[in-house]
Symmetry: C2
Subunit: 694 residues, 2 copies
């Protein structure tokens, strides 16, 4: 046997094997060198970008010097070309600072500061084995804020990658400290309408986002994405331990994402704060979105509404026509009158259109979006409503049959525009578990995932098409919110979580800690059409809510949406005039928002300043535990004296008994120097309106 | 507001919502009725099939009356048609008993008993929303053995589902007791060559199979599949808690599985036993495979081999031509002589063919499977070998470039057949991380997952095409083994786990408990070309094995393969003649196999009876812990006296020191009535040959 010194040929071949070995044997043991790094403007967060000897790309994030995200991989597997993984070197890395303030046409605050340092890393991938393609370029861009980081990949136009067909995004998030997670399983029915689970991070499966974490040292992290456009939604798959990886929602047509020419991926976002409240206070998601593309959006109206809706969930009326049809001209008129009398701009009517006869319209195939039932006079009702300062809210339940909906969408919007319906609630009820998409030219429709690139495209198209007709959209059973209301401010709200309807028929109904979870999970992504305010606290067949009445009021402040439904039956509101006053008063558009305290799944207190007056509003909610929260009123304007109209749990209030109705209203005089003790009952809450005294 | 009684229309629409609510709100709380059930012939395992009010299908498995798999879902999401989920009713359910014994041409035992009760449930799915398609038929078939259950779906040919495009298989495995899992992450590089992890089941991510579990009460379960043909490989995704779900390996072309006309899925298998040894003793996987389709396979030869291979992994020689080329005529002749002298039938030669110059042949594009390097005379060497009773073993390293390989495969097999090479080791080294598949007519090649339906098809095609030329195949970097060696007995072996090569350059090398894990995980799926017997216990650059010499010998018995490589350099074997005698003696084809004891990741003892003599062979391995295993010899033939040639760890042997070489050989006389005390050192083992005295 020979034992000659290694030749250069042997080295190169063995090096390949060794590199392969090094790569496949212990990816966690990469000795990677930092090729670029940058910190947030206030030096709170630091990002490092690393490349190992095999040219593999990674990043990590520290907060105040302590690792939050450990070394995590970046890259892609492609179908149509060699993978974008390994073989990278840095061509250029530069930082730039950005600090401006922009104004939202509506939102939780009027002015938003956008202050970050950008780290742009331009990469070159050598040919490796795909000799014919030559080097390829890719950029990774980090925007580093004091309260979070967003990063995305930018694909330039290049002949070697004119088309990009992504099978896997290899982006990892290696959480560096033991963490507790609040998560929702992705790829399960009913999509985002799962109960929020709390579990050690190492025990989660595949999660949708936002994914909220509390690290061992108290740091809170929310993992999500911003500006999800023409790309598959990102789920997060637990690989092992606390290493997570992006899992792109699959496509029935082939690779998860197919793009042509230059493009950027959505921003992968990590909001990072000392506590839960700090997560909510971050404007990272909105800041990473493109500015308003629609121009004048004065036709978009934050407001409250009521509707022919809860009565169906109570099984008192039907969607389909018949002896107990909800959407009749007479019944709708009564709601319009009630709305007008009580200052609600909108009246939603479900079941107005033909096709509800069977099983969600035979998977949506039967729904007409232009033909009313004979007992519903759309034009007359719309005129009647407008004459009283009210607008009908349209309803497009699609049954997840995107193929059928897209065929009618233009005519449907035309109809609404013609009769003066300037907003629509859409629905994609998942009886099929997946959506039915139109096929490409000549192809039959096919089922696919609503989080897929196809689904994402459709949801956005429904909004941009509506904008052509100056119609605003409230999407139910949607893809997750990623802040696109900044770019399309007619995208008013979404469902995308378990709403109050689950208290009508859910099995189980929403848990007592549901709102305290939602605030720091779902609500980090954007507004929710939660449909609060069911003062009767009862669903179908006597199901009781896990809530006191005071919490129903608090929800109007705590669960943000520019459009908020006062969901209960009018006759129930008329039973509780004292409580109802708060609902009549509370606005839905804000100059500012302060999250004053909170713990995920336990409690939360939010104060908001009205955009069109000097009033402040406050809401506080708790879980099953009674709490007294000391609340300094420092958010109030200095130098003013306020009348505080307080709606609180009575001393015996408790969500588990008839005392859930014990609501006490009282008035106090306060200033910014005062501290209130918010006494919350089990399953309770508190709502306060602060009005400056003249 | 009205409060009229519900009409039948309102009931149907509300029922839809309620059903939807019932389904989506708490799938775990289904009140399902048992529609069919059956037990194994010995009444050990029981399977129940259930359907809930919404027509959702589920099953559960009990062992001796105790739940092992709790209520678990069955069904599919499709791309081209409404999902096969919900709306089911039973058209027919019948049981039948089967008990026969069949003979393997080679294997761990000669005769295999196939004793089960089959439960066939024929289902009808009503139209639900897809009114135009009419009812659809589907069958679920369970084969219930005393030591395990296999079930599969059968799709009949029906106009409503002429094509079946599966996006998701919804099969669940809800493990009913807290369990420990030994698992390998799926969808990670390097595929099956990951270290086996041990973790609480609730902490795993997405696993490949076999997935081995130990339940709280000691019951062992191995989850896998049998007869994986023309379908995507099944990974197992943790949903939450201990609920697992089938995760079909994705396709870059669209839905994970596309089939036309009638077909059956692979069998989803659960081997269930009181202990680890019981898992191994089950023949479930083989029994569920189709019988031999090849007829006479006398041209398939279980045997041992040596090869021009380890010297490359030690970096002493190169695959590519050059001054230290391993695969030269002269060097190969030396191996042939060594093989002939020591009774090895085969000589593997890697690096014989053109294309090794760069980076695994530029992703396999450069490899020729018909043109040797000029310094390797294939026909002459093959003749020389045959003249000495030895055969060359061919080598087809593809670099995972299936497109390039399939173009040459026929000519490559023709060449080997012509020169008398009757077996080939193939490789699919994953530099790309994914395989490069040929495109459909006119389409360019595309990258995709080797576990995909495409990958599965290719691996099988390579074997069936080889059979046409009477060539046997040993697949490295393969898809998992699912027992197809029964149907195609020229599919001799696979890699599909971390083999001994990792001790040459792995980072880290194989752990001391690697074999004790392999036996009860990887080895449950089928034979492995482990390449044991490196008596020098050292890899490249002085890396030491986590093993004593005795364990290297034990591996020949403990890690089954019909073809076994004595991997070390010949000069090293000549240094250890006493140990080498065992390697020269040990056969690789068996009349019977008994797993005498074992715990996953701790230790294992296996005894096997030679197929062509009355000898028994035994191997025992341990992890880092020294053990003395009491071994009753009751497996020996009664009434015979045996000479036991024992190869054991010396008293100071230890894998962590130079004493790893302390091997003691001794001879004893034993009968079936005796008990041996097997004293295993840390990282040690023992090998014994039992020869009947005349």
């Amino acid at each position: 046997m020979r034992s000659q010194p290694r030749s250069r040929f042997s080295l190169s071949t063995i090096s390949a094997a060794m590199l392969l070995a090094g790569y496949i044997a212990a990816p966690g043991a990469w000795a990677q060198s930092v090729v670029a790094s940058a910190s947030s403007p206030g030096n709170v967060l630091n990002v490092e970008v690393r490349i190992d000897p095999a040219g593999k790309l990674g990043y990590d994030i520290k907060r105040k010097g302590k690792e939050v995200i450990g070394l995590s991989r970046l890259g892609f597997n492609l179908a149509n070309a060699y993978k974008l993984d390994g073989g990278f070197s840095v061509r250029a890395a530069r930082t730039s600072d950005h600090d401006d303030t922009w104004e939202q046409p509506w939102g939780e605050r009027r002015f938003v500061r956008n202050h970050y340092r950008e780290l742009r890393v331009e990469l070159e991938q050598n040919e490796l084995e795909q000799k014919e393609q030559g080097k390829r370029a890719l950029a990774v861009v980090f925007r580093i804020y004091d309260d979070g980081v967003g990063f995305r990949y930018e694909f330039p136009d290049q002949p070697q990658l004119r088309d990009v067909a992504i099978t896997d995004e290899l982006t990892e998030f290696a959480v560096a400290q033991p963490a507790t997670a609040w998560w929702i399983p992705a790829a399960e029915l009913p999509g985002l309408e799962e109960e929020v689970r709390k579990a050690p991070l190492k025990e989660i499966g595949t999660a949708n986002t936002p994914l909220t974490l509390r690290l061992e040292d108290g740091t809170h992290v929310a993992l999500h994405e911003a500006a999800l456009v023409d790309y598959a939604s990102m789920w997060v798959r637990k690989v092992e331990g606390q290493k997570l990886r992006a899992q792109l929602a699959p496509s029935s047509l082939g690779p998860a994402v197919v793009r042509h020419g230059a493009f950027s991926t959505p921003w992968r976002t990590l909001q990072i704060a000392d506590n839960a409240a700090g997560l909510y206070m971050s404007d990272l998601i909105l800041n990473l979105n493109e500015p308003n593309k629609l121009g004048d959006v004065s036709w978009v109206h934050p407001s409250k509404f009521v509707g022919v809706w809860w009565s169906m969930h109570l099984q008192q009326t039907t969607w389909n026509a018949g002896p107990t049809h909800g959407a009749t001209t007479a019944n709708t008129k009564r709601y319009i009158d009630f709305a007008a009398k009580n200052g609600f701009r909108g009246v939603l009517v479900e079941g107005w259109n033909q096709g509800w006869e069977s099983n969600w319209g035979h998977g949506g195939a039967d729904f007409s979006f232009t033909k009313s039932y004979p007992d519903f006079d759309l034009p007359a009702l719309s005129s009647y409503a407008q004459s009283k300062g009210v607008r009908l809210i349209g309803h497009h339940e699609t049954g997840a049959n995107v193929a059928a909906y897209e065929r009618q969408m233009d005519e449907a919007y035309k109809l609404y525009a013609r009769v003066g319906v300037d907003s629509v609630k859409s629905g994609y009820v998942h009886e099929a578990g997946t959506m039915l998409f139109p096929g490409a030219a000549g192809q039959p429709p096919h089922y696919g995932n609503y989080d897929s690139q196809e689904g994402v495209r459709h949801f956005q198209k429904a909004v941009t098409e509506a904008a052509r007709y100056r119609i605003a959209v409230d999407t139910h059973e949607p893809v997750k919110d990623t802040g696109l209301r900044r770019t399309y401010p007619n995208w008013l709200s979404r469902e995308g979580a378990r709403g109050v309807e689950y208290n009508a028929w859910g099995n189980p109904v929403n848990a007592v800690d549901h709102e305290a979870k939602l605030v720091f999970t779902r609500m980090l992504s954007g507004p929710m059409d939660y449909t609060p305010g069911v003062l009767s606290l009862v669903g179908a067949e006597g199901k009781t809510f896990n809530s006191t009445q005071a919490k129903q009021l608090a929800n109007f402040v705590v669960i943000y949406s520019p459009i908020v439904m006062a969901a209960d039956l009018p006759e129930n509101y008329m039973k509780y005039p004292a409580a109802f006053k708060f609902i009549r008063d509370v606005p839905t558009d804000w100059a500012d928002t302060r999250v004053l305290n909170g713990e995920v799944g336990e409690y939360a207190t939010i104060a908001r300043k009205d955009r069109t007056s000097d009033d402040w509003y406050l809401g506080a909610v708790t879980d099953g535990q009674a709490r007294t929260l000391a609340l300094p009123l420092g958010f109030l304007d200095a130098g003013k004296t306020y009348t505080a109209e307080i709606y609180r749990d009575g001393d015996q209030a408790d969500y588990r008994s008839a005392h859930r109705f014990d609501l006490v209203t009282e008035t106090r005089t306060v200033t910014a120097k005062d501290t209130l003790q918010l006494k919350l009952a089990p399953g309770g809450g508190q709502a306060i309106r602060f009005t400056p005294k003249r």
